[in-house]
Amino acid sequence: MTFPTTRSVLTVVVGALATASTAGDAPTKEIRLGVVGNPFDKPVATGILGYAQEHRLFETEFAKDGIAVEWDFYKGTGPAINEGLANGGIDITSYGDLPGILGRSGGIDTRLIVPGSVGQNIYVAVPPNSTVKSLLELKGKRIGYLKGTYLHLSWVRLVRGLGLSEQDFKVFNLSQTEGVAALQGGQIDAYVGVNTFLELADRGGARILYATNTRDAKAREIEGFGVVVASGRFLREHPDLVQRWVNVYVRAAAATLDENRRDEWIKLGTRPGYTEEQIRRDLGDGSIVEMNAPVFDERYFSKLREGIKASLDAGLIRRDIDLSQWVDRSFLDKALRTEASGLPWAKGFPVAGKSDRKAIVAGARP
């Protein structure tokens, strides 16, 4: 599935008309979900959304009213999704922390309706024959990453911990595929990417200098997280549809978030083409439940606040974000009551990193 092509002509017009209209509550024919693309270019989601996609949960729910569900995968990941949101081409999307923050701060009308996953890893890879031993040695060197993605923010926070800033490096805006090629061709000195580097490193195609899948304190501090947002217009016009969507999402979460069924979760992760090994190592010691539970708790809010603050400090956004205006927890809270009552994770977690995995495992047992 590629970019909607005829749609591109319509989105501008529709976007214009939609923004201009005051009461556009014509019955909708479909819900458009924007999903972040993967390095394999397969129109397949992972995690909770992946489970919902595989079992066609959304489709079944909305078929009752003759509403179709369209999944649009964006190769440009977060930044491209922002453009889609801005011109009215996306109704609901799950994407990364930085793109979400950039979009909101940049003025896109969205509401954060469900927390995304916490614990997105970054992998700083160098060419296989590189002599660099520490991150500090990369100062002044050529680094590649895709700007505007969660990788960007995590990198910025990582180097700030070392007393450096983004400006201390020569930064090239490259996608994962371009980055790997550039690394191997010796055109850049390091690339900040996703877990496909694990396999590449095994094959000797690169060396991982730093990765957050160790899940130590520093890693947990800079790891990326996600946001699930709905376009403001869609939310205002179809709050009922949004509620039902969130209900289905929570239902999917209830079905998948079980520490005892880690293998099934990992299987979900392999759908686009990652290997089980990669997913397992990416997961590391992390708790599936604690990292993915869709609940607005202190764990998530602290990450959200810190993410926004870090973006502001690094000059990535120019206006602060008022969370009370952005977050709309009514849908999720209602959904949790109806679909996930009794589940221990529905009560949320304290600040990330401080939860006890054993306790969660114990609690998640039915």
Partner: protein, 254 residues
């Protein structure tokens, strides 16, 4: 006076109308305000960029690359063009080969440069040089060829040495064509640097546009676009002025 008003005011009024349309489209939010940023905001961004020095830095990098690539491309183009234009033999032997390479759309050379020379300065300068080469080559060779045989004969009559003949007859005769080629090349060079920067760079105005886009700062994208356009227009005007100054006997037709 009335004529002056016509020449200046007529086009100016259209530009003002466009500005007004832009302003109104934003005022009534015909398009999402995040995508079509109001002129005032774009202006403020440009001013901010100037104050923070970022504008100068990025522009500096882009212009530096253009200067280098242009210099190389034009020198090569003039040299080869003059050679081919003056020697029938050279043209027969090498003309077709050059023609062959000319068929390739100029942007297609960019990936090759990147593979061979990396994503830093070298590939960009090389790409710009290649882009500048052909217009200058073609125009120069035509210009040199077009030097009327009669003039050269006069030179012979006067007993001018080949070098003198070249400097005092060929060069001034061919100059209009060479300058025309150089003028085309500068436009192409500017386009080449922007596209090279859009493809992969760590600095420059094209990089700035990409960077703004990734960070969803449309005002930056529009500001970058306006700056790119401004430089394009300015360099063309500069060359027009240069042509008029150096060759006052040839008046530009628009």
């Amino acid at each position: 006076m009335k004529r002056f008003a016509w020449i200046i005011l007529a086009p100016l009024s259209v530009q003002l109308l466009v500005l007004l349309a832009w302003f109104l489209l934003c005022r009534y939010e015909v398009f999402p305000p995040t995508l079509l940023v109001p002129p005032a905001l774009v202006w403020r961004t440009i001013v901010d960029l100037w104050n923070s020095g970022d504008l100068q830095t990025h522009m500096g990098w882009s212009l530096r690359r253009v200067a280098l690539g242009y210099g190389i491309g034009v020198s090569a183009g003039v040299a080869v063009g003059a050679a081919l234009g003056s020697s029938r033999r050279l043209e027969t032997w090498f003309g077709p080969t050059l023609d062959l390479f000319k068929q390739v759309p100029v942007f297609a050379w960019a990936p090759m440069m990147i593979v061979l020379l990396g994503i830093e300065e070298a590939s960009k300068v090389a790409f710009i040089a290649v882009a500048c080469f052909y217009p200058v080559l073609l125009n120069t060779s035509q210009g040199v060829k077009g030097v009327q045989a009669k003039l050269l004969e006069v030179g012979e009559v006067f007993g001018l040495s080949p070098r003198h003949s070249f400097l005092r007859i060929v060069v001034p005769s061919a100059l209009p064509a060479v300058l025309a080629g150089m003028r085309q090349s500068i436009a192409l060079a500017w386009m080449a640097v922007v596209s090279a920067e859009l493809m992969g760079a760590d600095s420059g105005i094209g990089f700035f546009m990409t960077y703004s886009r990734q960070l969803f700062q449309m005002d930056g994208v529009i500001a970058g676009f306006l700056l790119v356009g401004a430089v394009g227009i300015a360099t063309n005007a500069l060359f027009g002025g240069l042509q008029n100054w150096l060759l006052p006997w040839i008046r530009e037709v628009a």
